[in-house]
Protein backbone atom coordinates (compact mmCIF):
# COMPACT_ATOMS: atom_id res chain seq x y z
CA UNK A 1 0.00 0.00 0.00
CA UNK A 2 1.21 3.49 -0.86
CA UNK A 3 1.48 6.34 1.63
CA UNK A 4 -1.13 8.96 0.69
CA UNK A 5 1.42 11.71 0.01
CA UNK A 6 3.29 9.47 -2.42
CA UNK A 7 0.04 8.48 -4.11
CA UNK A 8 -0.95 12.14 -4.43
CA UNK A 9 2.37 12.87 -6.14
CA UNK A 10 1.84 9.88 -8.46
CA UNK A 11 -1.68 11.08 -9.35
CA UNK A 12 -0.50 14.61 -10.15
CA UNK A 13 2.54 13.42 -12.11
CA UNK A 14 0.37 11.00 -14.11
CA UNK A 15 -2.06 13.81 -14.88
CA UNK A 16 0.88 15.86 -16.14
CA UNK A 17 2.59 13.01 -17.97
CA UNK A 18 -0.41 11.84 -20.01
CA UNK A 19 -0.86 15.05 -22.06
CA UNK A 20 2.90 15.42 -22.46
CA UNK A 21 3.05 11.89 -23.88
CA UNK A 22 0.03 12.69 -26.05
CA UNK A 23 1.87 15.76 -27.33
CA UNK A 24 4.86 13.65 -28.24
CA UNK A 25 2.56 11.14 -30.00
CA UNK A 26 0.57 13.94 -31.69
CA UNK A 27 -2.72 13.00 -30.01
CA UNK A 28 -4.39 16.37 -29.28
CA UNK A 29 -7.67 14.69 -28.32
CA UNK A 30 -5.97 13.00 -25.35
CA UNK A 31 -4.66 16.42 -24.26
CA UNK A 32 -8.21 17.77 -24.37
CA UNK A 33 -9.43 14.79 -22.33
CA UNK A 34 -6.69 15.44 -19.73
CA UNK A 35 -7.70 19.12 -19.64
CA UNK A 36 -11.29 18.08 -19.04
CA UNK A 37 -10.19 15.80 -16.19
CA UNK A 38 -8.15 18.66 -14.68
CA UNK A 39 -11.05 21.11 -14.79
CA UNK A 40 -13.63 18.65 -13.47
CA UNK A 41 -11.18 17.63 -10.73
CA UNK A 42 -10.93 21.30 -9.77
CA UNK A 43 -14.73 21.43 -9.44
CA UNK A 44 -14.49 18.29 -7.31
CA UNK A 45 -11.80 19.82 -5.09
CA UNK A 46 -14.21 22.70 -4.49
CA UNK A 47 -17.12 20.46 -3.53
CA UNK A 48 -14.81 18.19 -1.52
CA UNK A 49 -14.01 21.05 0.85
CA UNK A 50 -17.71 21.41 1.71
CA UNK A 51 -18.67 17.74 1.45
CA UNK A 52 -15.56 15.92 2.61
CA UNK A 53 -14.11 18.26 5.19
CA UNK A 54 -17.33 19.98 6.26
CA UNK A 55 -19.88 17.18 5.80
CA UNK A 56 -22.10 19.53 3.81
CA UNK A 57 -23.78 17.33 1.20
CA UNK A 58 -24.49 20.05 -1.34
CA UNK A 59 -26.48 18.79 -4.30
CA UNK A 60 -26.47 22.21 -5.91
CA UNK A 61 -22.82 22.90 -6.68
CA UNK A 62 -23.74 23.02 -10.37
CA UNK A 63 -25.05 26.51 -9.54
CA UNK A 64 -21.49 27.75 -8.92
CA UNK A 65 -20.09 25.73 -11.83
CA UNK A 66 -22.71 27.29 -14.10
CA UNK A 67 -22.23 30.78 -12.72
CA UNK A 68 -18.50 30.50 -13.42
CA UNK A 69 -19.33 29.31 -16.93
CA UNK A 70 -21.81 32.11 -17.56
CA UNK A 71 -19.42 34.70 -16.09
CA UNK A 72 -16.99 33.64 -18.81
CA UNK A 73 -19.70 33.38 -21.49
CA UNK A 74 -21.27 36.76 -20.80
CA UNK A 75 -17.99 38.68 -20.54
CA UNK A 76 -16.53 37.01 -23.62
CA UNK A 77 -19.70 37.38 -25.73
CA UNK A 78 -19.80 41.13 -25.03
CA UNK A 79 -16.13 41.41 -25.90
CA UNK A 80 -16.57 39.58 -29.21
CA UNK A 81 -19.64 41.67 -30.15
CA UNK A 82 -17.97 44.92 -28.96
CA UNK A 83 -21.01 45.83 -26.87
CA UNK A 84 -20.76 46.90 -23.25
CA UNK A 85 -22.22 44.64 -20.58
CA UNK A 86 -23.82 47.67 -18.94
CA UNK A 87 -23.56 51.43 -19.25
CA UNK A 88 -25.64 52.69 -16.31
CA UNK A 89 -24.79 53.44 -13.53
CA UNK A 90 -21.25 52.69 -14.70
CA UNK A 91 -19.70 51.23 -17.79
CA UNK A 92 -18.72 47.55 -17.75
CA UNK A 93 -17.15 46.21 -20.92
CA UNK A 94 -16.78 42.58 -21.91
CA UNK A 95 -13.34 40.98 -21.78
CA UNK A 96 -11.37 38.14 -23.33
CA UNK A 97 -8.78 38.14 -20.57
CA UNK A 98 -8.73 34.84 -18.68
CA UNK A 99 -7.41 36.25 -15.37
CA UNK A 100 -10.16 38.90 -15.30
CA UNK A 101 -12.77 36.26 -16.15
CA UNK A 102 -11.45 33.92 -13.42
CA UNK A 103 -11.63 36.65 -10.78
CA UNK A 104 -15.14 37.56 -11.90
CA UNK A 105 -16.20 33.91 -11.86
CA UNK A 106 -14.78 33.42 -8.35
CA UNK A 107 -16.46 36.58 -7.01
CA UNK A 108 -19.85 35.85 -8.59
CA UNK A 109 -19.95 32.21 -7.52
CA UNK A 110 -18.67 33.05 -4.02
CA UNK A 111 -21.38 35.67 -3.57
CA UNK A 112 -24.00 33.16 -4.73
CA UNK A 113 -22.56 30.60 -2.30
CA UNK A 114 -22.73 33.19 0.48
CA UNK A 115 -26.41 33.82 -0.20
CA UNK A 116 -27.33 30.16 -0.73
CA UNK A 117 -25.17 29.02 2.19
CA UNK A 118 -26.62 31.61 4.57
CA UNK A 119 -30.09 30.24 3.84
CA UNK A 120 -29.40 26.54 3.36
CA UNK A 121 -27.05 26.12 6.35
CA UNK A 122 -30.00 26.84 8.63
CA UNK A 123 -31.13 23.32 7.71
CA UNK A 124 -29.32 19.99 7.90
CA UNK A 125 -29.45 16.46 6.54
CA UNK A 126 -31.90 15.77 3.75
CA UNK A 127 -33.34 19.30 3.99
CA UNK A 128 -29.92 20.80 3.27
CA UNK A 129 -29.58 18.52 0.24
CA UNK A 130 -33.02 19.54 -1.02
CA UNK A 131 -32.50 23.29 -0.46
CA UNK A 132 -29.17 23.29 -2.30
CA UNK A 133 -30.70 21.22 -5.11
CA UNK A 134 -33.58 23.70 -5.35
CA UNK A 135 -31.21 26.66 -5.67
CA UNK A 136 -29.26 24.86 -8.39
CA UNK A 137 -32.43 24.16 -10.33
CA UNK A 138 -33.55 27.79 -9.92
CA UNK A 139 -30.39 28.90 -11.74
CA UNK A 140 -30.96 26.20 -14.36
CA UNK A 141 -34.48 27.36 -15.19
CA UNK A 142 -33.42 31.00 -15.07
CA UNK A 143 -30.67 30.32 -17.63
CA UNK A 144 -33.14 28.48 -19.87
CA UNK A 145 -35.49 31.44 -19.83
CA UNK A 146 -32.83 34.10 -20.41
CA UNK A 147 -32.86 34.71 -24.18
CA UNK A 148 -30.29 37.52 -24.06
CA UNK A 149 -27.61 34.89 -23.43
CA UNK A 150 -28.88 32.07 -25.60
CA UNK A 151 -31.61 30.63 -23.40
CA UNK A 152 -31.89 26.88 -23.82
CA UNK A 153 -29.44 26.89 -26.77
CA UNK A 154 -26.59 28.33 -24.72
CA UNK A 155 -23.90 30.71 -25.79
CA UNK A 156 -21.00 30.05 -28.16
CA UNK A 157 -17.65 31.81 -27.86
CA UNK A 158 -15.78 31.66 -31.16
CA UNK A 159 -12.23 32.13 -29.93
CA UNK A 160 -10.84 30.91 -26.61
CA UNK A 161 -10.05 33.68 -24.15
CA UNK A 162 -6.48 34.87 -23.83
CA UNK A 163 -3.76 34.57 -21.23
CA UNK A 164 -0.73 36.89 -21.35
CA UNK A 165 2.25 35.24 -23.07
CA UNK A 166 0.42 32.04 -24.05
CA UNK A 167 -1.55 30.81 -27.04
CA UNK A 168 -4.56 29.26 -25.32
CA UNK A 169 -5.77 27.69 -28.55
CA UNK A 170 -2.80 25.31 -28.39
CA UNK A 171 -4.24 22.40 -26.34
CA UNK A 172 -1.09 21.74 -24.30
CA UNK A 173 -0.81 25.40 -23.31
CA UNK A 174 -4.41 25.54 -22.16
CA UNK A 175 -3.84 22.28 -20.27
CA UNK A 176 -0.82 23.88 -18.60
CA UNK A 177 -2.92 26.79 -17.38
CA UNK A 178 -5.58 24.46 -15.95
CA UNK A 179 -2.97 22.17 -14.35
CA UNK A 180 -1.17 25.06 -12.63
CA UNK A 181 -4.50 26.40 -11.33
CA UNK A 182 -5.40 22.94 -10.00
CA UNK A 183 -2.04 22.68 -8.22
CA UNK A 184 -2.44 26.16 -6.70
CA UNK A 185 -5.93 25.34 -5.45
CA UNK A 186 -4.79 21.94 -4.10
CA UNK A 187 -1.98 23.64 -2.19
CA UNK A 188 -4.39 26.25 -0.82
CA UNK A 189 -6.96 23.63 0.23
CA UNK A 190 -4.37 21.35 1.83
CA UNK A 191 -3.04 24.31 3.87
CA UNK A 192 -6.59 25.29 4.76
CA UNK A 193 -7.41 21.76 5.92
CA UNK A 194 -4.40 21.79 8.27
CA UNK A 195 -5.15 25.26 9.64
CA UNK A 196 -7.16 25.94 12.80
CA UNK A 197 -10.07 26.84 10.50
CA UNK A 198 -9.89 23.51 8.64
CA UNK A 199 -9.61 21.54 11.87
CA UNK A 200 -12.57 23.43 13.33
CA UNK A 201 -14.56 22.60 10.17
CA UNK A 202 -13.61 18.94 10.51
CA UNK A 203 -14.45 19.01 14.22
CA UNK A 204 -17.85 20.55 13.52
CA UNK A 205 -18.42 17.80 10.95
CA UNK A 206 -17.51 15.04 13.41
CA UNK A 207 -19.53 16.33 16.33
CA UNK A 208 -21.17 19.74 16.30
CA UNK A 209 -21.90 19.79 20.06
CA UNK A 210 -18.26 19.09 20.92
CA UNK A 211 -17.21 21.87 18.57
CA UNK A 212 -19.65 24.32 20.14
CA UNK A 213 -18.38 23.60 23.64
CA UNK A 214 -14.84 24.57 22.68
CA UNK A 215 -16.12 27.87 21.31
CA UNK A 216 -16.23 27.07 17.59
CA UNK A 217 -18.92 29.07 15.79
CA UNK A 218 -19.92 26.18 13.59
CA UNK A 219 -22.37 28.17 11.45
CA UNK A 220 -19.72 30.73 10.52
CA UNK A 221 -17.04 28.11 9.88
CA UNK A 222 -19.39 26.12 7.64
CA UNK A 223 -20.52 29.22 5.76
CA UNK A 224 -16.94 30.34 5.07
CA UNK A 225 -16.07 26.83 3.84
CA UNK A 226 -19.19 26.79 1.66
CA UNK A 227 -18.26 30.14 0.11
CA UNK A 228 -14.67 29.05 -0.62
CA UNK A 229 -16.02 25.80 -2.02
CA UNK A 230 -18.42 27.69 -4.30
CA UNK A 231 -15.65 30.02 -5.48
CA UNK A 232 -13.38 27.13 -6.47
CA UNK A 233 -16.22 25.39 -8.31
CA UNK A 234 -17.02 28.68 -10.08
CA UNK A 235 -13.42 28.94 -11.28
CA UNK A 236 -13.70 25.40 -12.66
CA UNK A 237 -16.92 26.42 -14.44
CA UNK A 238 -15.17 29.34 -16.17
CA UNK A 239 -12.37 27.03 -17.34
CA UNK A 240 -14.84 24.37 -18.50
CA UNK A 241 -16.73 26.95 -20.57
CA UNK A 242 -13.41 28.10 -22.05
CA UNK A 243 -12.44 24.51 -22.85
CA UNK A 244 -15.66 23.98 -24.81
CA UNK A 245 -15.95 27.61 -25.95
CA UNK A 246 -19.59 27.10 -25.13
CA UNK A 247 -21.81 27.60 -22.12
CA UNK A 248 -25.34 26.28 -21.68
CA UNK A 249 -27.94 25.79 -18.93
CA UNK A 250 -26.77 22.16 -18.65
CA UNK A 251 -23.90 23.44 -16.53
CA UNK A 252 -26.49 24.36 -13.89
CA UNK A 253 -28.43 21.10 -13.97
CA UNK A 254 -28.62 18.62 -11.12
CA UNK A 255 -26.88 16.08 -13.35
CA UNK A 256 -23.79 18.25 -13.17
CA UNK A 257 -24.06 18.45 -9.37
CA UNK A 258 -24.38 14.66 -9.28
CA UNK A 259 -21.36 14.18 -11.54
CA UNK A 260 -19.14 16.39 -9.38
CA UNK A 261 -20.28 14.37 -6.36
CA UNK A 262 -19.50 11.12 -8.19
CA UNK A 263 -15.90 12.28 -8.81
CA UNK A 264 -15.49 12.69 -5.05
CA UNK A 265 -17.11 9.40 -4.08
CA UNK A 266 -15.14 7.48 -6.73
CA UNK A 267 -11.85 9.14 -5.81
CA UNK A 268 -12.31 9.26 -2.04
CA UNK A 269 -14.30 11.61 0.15
CA UNK A 270 -12.15 14.15 2.05
CA UNK A 271 -9.02 13.00 0.18
CA UNK A 272 -7.04 15.89 -1.22
CA UNK A 273 -6.41 14.18 -4.59
CA UNK A 274 -9.58 12.07 -4.50
CA UNK A 275 -11.44 14.30 -6.99
CA UNK A 276 -8.58 14.00 -9.51
CA UNK A 277 -8.63 10.20 -9.34
CA UNK A 278 -12.44 10.25 -9.47
CA UNK A 279 -12.68 12.64 -12.41
CA UNK A 280 -10.03 10.69 -14.31
CA UNK A 281 -11.83 7.40 -13.69
CA UNK A 282 -15.14 8.95 -14.75
CA UNK A 283 -13.77 10.43 -17.98
CA UNK A 284 -11.94 7.20 -18.86
CA UNK A 285 -15.10 5.19 -18.24
CA UNK A 286 -17.18 7.67 -20.23
CA UNK A 287 -14.73 7.52 -23.12
CA UNK A 288 -14.13 3.79 -23.30
CA UNK A 289 -17.44 2.40 -22.03
CA UNK A 290 -19.21 5.00 -24.18
CA UNK A 291 -17.70 3.25 -27.21
CA UNK A 292 -19.08 -0.10 -25.99
CA UNK A 293 -22.58 1.02 -25.13
CA UNK A 294 -24.57 4.22 -25.07
CA UNK A 295 -25.90 3.01 -21.71
CA UNK A 296 -22.39 3.20 -20.20
CA UNK A 297 -23.76 4.87 -17.08
CA UNK A 298 -25.36 1.56 -16.07
CA UNK A 299 -21.83 0.16 -15.69
CA UNK A 300 -20.82 3.32 -13.85
CA UNK A 301 -23.74 2.71 -11.50
CA UNK A 302 -22.44 -0.76 -10.65
CA UNK A 303 -18.94 0.61 -10.06
CA UNK A 304 -20.30 3.36 -7.83
CA UNK A 305 -22.33 0.81 -5.90
CA UNK A 306 -19.20 -1.29 -5.40
CA UNK A 307 -17.22 1.72 -4.16
CA UNK A 308 -19.95 2.81 -1.73
CA UNK A 309 -20.41 -0.73 -0.36
CA UNK A 310 -16.87 -2.09 -0.34
CA UNK A 311 -14.36 0.74 -0.83
CA UNK A 312 -15.59 3.73 1.14
CA UNK A 313 -12.24 5.47 0.86
CA UNK A 314 -12.66 5.43 -2.93
CA UNK A 315 -9.75 4.88 -5.30
CA UNK A 316 -7.33 6.73 -3.02
CA UNK A 317 -8.52 4.75 -0.01
CA UNK A 318 -8.15 1.45 -1.87
CA UNK A 319 -4.61 2.27 -2.98
CA UNK A 320 -3.47 3.58 0.39
CA UNK A 321 -5.28 0.90 2.36
CA UNK A 322 -7.06 3.30 4.66
CA UNK A 323 -10.34 5.16 4.84
CA UNK A 324 -8.46 8.21 6.08
CA UNK A 325 -10.50 11.07 7.44
CA UNK A 326 -13.63 10.13 5.57
CA UNK A 327 -16.45 10.35 8.04
CA UNK A 328 -18.83 7.54 7.44
Amino acid sequence: MLPERLLNAVILLTLLAVPLAALALDEPFIITLATKVTILALAGVGLNLALGQGGLVSFGHAAYFGLGGYAMGILASHAQSFTPLMEVPFLIEGTKSMPVIWITAIIVSSLAALLIGALSLRTSGVYFIMVTLAFGQMFYYFAISWPAYGGEDGLSIYVRNGFPGLNTLVPIQFFGICFVLLCVVLFFVSRLNRSAFGLALDGAHQHSERALTVGININRVRLVAFVISGGITGLAGALFADLNRFVSPTMFSWHTSGEIMIFIILGGVARICGPIAGAAAYIILEHYLGDVSEYWQVYLGFILLFVVLFAKGGIVGALTGSRGKAHG
Binding site: A196, L199, A200, D202, G203, Q206, H207, E209, R210, A211, L212, T213, V214, G215, I216, N217, I218, K325, H327
Partner: protein
Protein backbone atom coordinates in the same frame (compact mmCIF):
# COMPACT_ATOMS: atom_id res chain seq x y z
CA UNK B 1 -16.33 37.92 46.74
CA UNK B 2 -18.85 37.56 43.92
CA UNK B 3 -19.10 34.17 42.26
CA UNK B 4 -17.52 33.50 38.86
CA UNK B 5 -20.35 31.11 38.04
CA UNK B 6 -23.70 31.82 39.60
CA UNK B 7 -26.81 29.67 39.13
CA UNK B 8 -29.97 30.62 41.00
CA UNK B 9 -33.26 28.75 40.90
CA UNK B 10 -32.47 27.09 37.58
CA UNK B 11 -35.18 24.96 36.01
CA UNK B 12 -34.84 23.08 32.73
CA UNK B 13 -36.71 20.48 30.71
CA UNK B 14 -36.18 18.02 27.89
CA UNK B 15 -39.36 18.67 25.94
CA UNK B 16 -42.26 17.97 28.28
CA UNK B 17 -40.06 16.22 30.83
CA UNK B 18 -38.72 18.59 33.50
CA UNK B 19 -35.26 17.64 34.74
CA UNK B 20 -34.22 20.57 36.94
CA UNK B 21 -36.57 22.06 39.52
CA UNK B 22 -34.38 24.69 41.18
CA UNK B 23 -30.61 24.43 41.13
CA UNK B 24 -28.45 26.92 43.04
CA UNK B 25 -24.73 26.70 42.44
CA UNK B 26 -21.85 29.13 42.87
CA UNK B 27 -18.19 28.72 41.91
CA UNK B 28 -15.73 31.42 42.99
CA UNK B 29 -12.40 32.35 41.40
CA UNK B 30 -9.77 29.68 42.08
CA UNK B 31 -12.27 27.39 43.80
CA UNK B 32 -12.81 23.70 43.07
CA UNK B 33 -16.45 22.75 43.52
CA UNK B 34 -17.77 19.20 43.42
CA UNK B 35 -21.24 18.72 41.94
CA UNK B 36 -22.55 15.53 43.51
CA UNK B 37 -25.61 13.35 43.48
CA UNK B 38 -26.80 9.92 42.54
CA UNK B 39 -27.41 8.91 38.92
CA UNK B 40 -30.25 10.76 37.21
CA UNK B 41 -30.37 13.63 39.69
CA UNK B 42 -29.58 16.34 37.13
CA UNK B 43 -25.80 16.80 37.27
CA UNK B 44 -25.15 16.51 33.53
CA UNK B 45 -28.30 18.52 32.79
CA UNK B 46 -26.95 21.29 35.01
CA UNK B 47 -23.67 21.20 33.07
CA UNK B 48 -25.61 21.40 29.80
CA UNK B 49 -27.48 24.46 31.07
CA UNK B 50 -24.22 26.15 32.12
CA UNK B 51 -22.69 25.48 28.69
CA UNK B 52 -25.91 26.56 26.94
CA UNK B 53 -26.41 23.18 25.31
CA UNK B 54 -29.81 23.25 26.99
CA UNK B 55 -31.81 26.40 27.70
CA UNK B 56 -33.15 26.91 31.19
CA UNK B 57 -36.87 27.63 31.47
CA UNK B 58 -36.52 29.59 34.73
CA UNK B 59 -33.84 30.95 37.00
CA UNK B 60 -30.62 32.87 36.38
CA UNK B 61 -27.34 31.67 34.92
CA UNK B 62 -24.46 34.14 35.08
CA UNK B 63 -20.76 33.76 34.32
CA UNK B 64 -18.20 36.46 35.13
CA UNK B 65 -21.09 38.83 35.79
CA UNK B 66 -22.64 38.21 32.38
CA UNK B 67 -26.09 36.74 31.90
CA UNK B 68 -25.68 33.57 29.83
CA UNK B 69 -29.33 33.02 29.09
CA UNK B 70 -29.35 34.72 25.70
CA UNK B 71 -25.96 33.42 24.57
CA UNK B 72 -25.41 30.53 22.16
CA UNK B 73 -23.14 27.73 23.26
CA UNK B 74 -20.00 28.83 21.39
CA UNK B 75 -20.27 32.37 22.80
CA UNK B 76 -20.51 30.99 26.34
CA UNK B 77 -17.40 28.90 25.66
CA UNK B 78 -15.60 31.99 24.33
CA UNK B 79 -16.35 33.76 27.63
CA UNK B 80 -14.19 31.18 29.37
CA UNK B 81 -16.21 28.02 29.99
CA UNK B 82 -14.11 24.96 29.20
CA UNK B 83 -16.07 21.72 29.17
CA UNK B 84 -14.66 18.21 29.37
CA UNK B 85 -17.79 16.31 28.40
CA UNK B 86 -18.90 12.96 29.73
CA UNK B 87 -17.54 10.04 27.72
CA UNK B 88 -14.16 11.44 26.54
CA UNK B 89 -15.58 13.09 23.50
CA UNK B 90 -12.58 13.90 21.36
CA UNK B 91 -12.64 14.53 17.62
CA UNK B 92 -11.77 10.93 16.89
CA UNK B 93 -10.73 11.45 13.26
CA UNK B 94 -8.22 14.16 14.15
CA UNK B 95 -4.75 13.58 15.55
CA UNK B 96 -3.83 14.59 19.10
CA UNK B 97 -2.25 17.92 18.12
CA UNK B 98 -5.09 18.63 15.67
CA UNK B 99 -7.63 18.13 18.47
CA UNK B 100 -5.72 20.59 20.62
CA UNK B 101 -5.00 23.10 17.85
CA UNK B 102 -8.63 23.13 16.65
CA UNK B 103 -9.74 24.42 20.04
CA UNK B 104 -6.86 26.82 20.69
CA UNK B 105 -7.49 30.38 21.82
CA UNK B 106 -4.83 32.87 22.94
CA UNK B 107 -3.75 32.68 26.56
CA UNK B 108 -1.44 30.97 29.00
CA UNK B 109 -2.29 27.46 27.84
CA UNK B 110 -0.58 26.28 24.67
CA UNK B 111 0.54 22.95 23.20
CA UNK B 112 3.79 22.90 25.21
CA UNK B 113 1.99 23.50 28.49
CA UNK B 114 -0.61 20.81 27.79
CA UNK B 115 2.15 18.35 26.86
CA UNK B 116 3.90 19.27 30.11
CA UNK B 117 0.75 18.43 32.09
CA UNK B 118 0.13 15.24 30.08
CA UNK B 119 3.49 14.05 28.65
CA UNK B 120 1.76 11.08 27.01
CA UNK B 121 -0.10 13.46 24.69
CA UNK B 122 3.21 14.92 23.54
CA UNK B 123 4.52 11.43 22.79
CA UNK B 124 1.42 10.68 20.73
CA UNK B 125 1.00 14.09 19.10
CA UNK B 126 0.59 12.70 15.57
CA UNK B 127 -1.52 9.71 16.56
CA UNK B 128 -5.23 9.72 15.69
CA UNK B 129 -7.44 10.31 18.73
CA UNK B 130 -9.46 7.18 18.02
CA UNK B 131 -6.35 5.04 18.46
CA UNK B 132 -5.66 6.33 22.00
CA UNK B 133 -6.55 4.42 25.15
CA UNK B 134 -9.52 5.59 27.22
CA UNK B 135 -7.28 7.36 29.71
CA UNK B 136 -5.31 9.10 26.98
CA UNK B 137 -8.53 10.23 25.33
CA UNK B 138 -9.63 11.69 28.65
CA UNK B 139 -6.31 13.51 28.96
CA UNK B 140 -6.83 14.80 25.44
CA UNK B 141 -10.35 15.99 26.29
CA UNK B 142 -8.96 17.88 29.31
CA UNK B 143 -6.08 19.25 27.22
CA UNK B 144 -8.48 20.41 24.54
CA UNK B 145 -10.58 22.25 27.11
CA UNK B 146 -7.42 23.86 28.54
CA UNK B 147 -6.36 25.00 25.05
CA UNK B 148 -9.46 27.23 25.02
CA UNK B 149 -7.83 29.04 27.97
CA UNK B 150 -10.92 28.83 30.16
CA UNK B 151 -11.60 30.68 33.40
CA UNK B 152 -13.75 27.79 34.57
CA UNK B 153 -12.94 24.17 33.73
CA UNK B 154 -15.93 21.84 33.93
CA UNK B 155 -15.19 18.12 34.21
CA UNK B 156 -18.20 15.86 33.72
CA UNK B 157 -17.46 12.33 35.00
CA UNK B 158 -13.83 12.71 33.98
CA UNK B 159 -12.65 9.47 35.60
CA UNK B 160 -15.61 7.24 34.84
CA UNK B 161 -14.76 3.87 33.32
CA UNK B 162 -11.00 4.32 33.62
CA UNK B 163 -8.49 1.92 35.16
CA UNK B 164 -7.53 2.86 38.77
CA UNK B 165 -3.98 3.83 37.82
CA UNK B 166 -5.24 6.13 35.06
CA UNK B 167 -7.81 7.65 37.40
CA UNK B 168 -4.99 8.51 39.77
CA UNK B 169 -3.17 10.25 36.92
CA UNK B 170 -6.27 12.31 36.08
CA UNK B 171 -6.83 13.25 39.72
CA UNK B 172 -3.17 14.21 40.05
CA UNK B 173 -3.50 16.44 36.99
CA UNK B 174 -6.64 18.08 38.40
CA UNK B 175 -4.78 18.66 41.67
CA UNK B 176 -1.87 20.22 39.76
CA UNK B 177 -4.27 22.47 37.86
CA UNK B 178 -5.86 23.64 41.09
CA UNK B 179 -2.63 24.31 42.91
CA UNK B 180 -0.57 25.85 40.10
CA UNK B 181 -2.94 27.54 37.67
CA UNK B 182 -5.50 29.12 39.97
CA UNK B 183 -8.18 27.89 37.58
CA UNK B 184 -11.75 27.60 38.88
CA UNK B 185 -12.93 24.02 38.48
CA UNK B 186 -16.34 22.38 38.65
CA UNK B 187 -16.15 18.59 38.93
CA UNK B 188 -18.91 16.05 38.52
CA UNK B 189 -17.71 12.71 39.85
CA UNK B 190 -18.71 9.82 42.07
CA UNK B 191 -15.31 9.29 43.70
CA UNK B 192 -16.10 10.75 47.11
CA UNK B 193 -12.66 10.06 48.59
CA UNK B 194 -10.84 12.01 45.87
CA UNK B 195 -13.37 14.83 45.91
CA UNK B 196 -13.03 15.17 49.69
CA UNK B 197 -9.28 15.41 49.27
CA UNK B 198 -9.24 17.91 46.44
CA UNK B 199 -12.47 19.99 46.47
CA UNK B 200 -13.09 23.17 48.44
CA UNK B 201 -16.86 22.89 48.50
CA UNK B 202 -19.69 20.75 47.21
CA UNK B 203 -23.23 21.00 45.93
CA UNK B 204 -25.55 18.00 46.14
CA UNK B 205 -28.40 17.53 43.71
CA UNK B 206 -31.44 15.44 44.56
CA UNK B 207 -34.18 14.98 41.96
CA UNK B 208 -33.22 18.11 40.06
CA UNK B 209 -32.84 20.36 43.10
CA UNK B 210 -29.78 21.50 44.98
CA UNK B 211 -30.40 20.20 48.48
CA UNK B 212 -27.06 20.88 50.14
CA UNK B 213 -24.21 23.29 49.55
CA UNK B 214 -21.20 23.92 51.76
CA UNK B 215 -17.56 23.24 52.53
CA UNK B 216 -16.55 19.73 51.50
CA UNK B 217 -15.26 18.93 55.00
CA UNK B 218 -18.74 19.69 56.34
CA UNK B 219 -20.15 16.81 54.29
CA UNK B 220 -20.83 14.36 57.09
CA UNK B 221 -21.30 10.63 56.73
CA UNK B 222 -25.02 11.10 57.48
CA UNK B 223 -25.37 13.52 54.57
CA UNK B 224 -23.37 11.23 52.30
CA UNK B 225 -25.54 8.32 53.27
CA UNK B 226 -28.74 10.30 52.82
CA UNK B 227 -28.01 11.90 49.44
CA UNK B 228 -25.27 9.86 47.84
CA UNK B 229 -25.99 6.40 49.20
CA UNK B 230 -22.43 5.83 50.41
Amino acid sequence: MSALLDLRGVEASYGASQALFGVDLQVREGELVALMGRNGMGKTTTIKVICRLLKNSAGDVAFAGQDLRSLPSHKAAQLGLGLVPEGRRCFTNLSVWENLYAAARPGAWDLAKVYELFPRLGERADQMAKSLSGGEQQMLAIGRALMTNPRLLILDEATEGLAPVVRQEIWAAIGTLKSTSGLSILVVDKTISELRRIADSAVILERGRSVWQGRIDALTSDLRNKYLGV
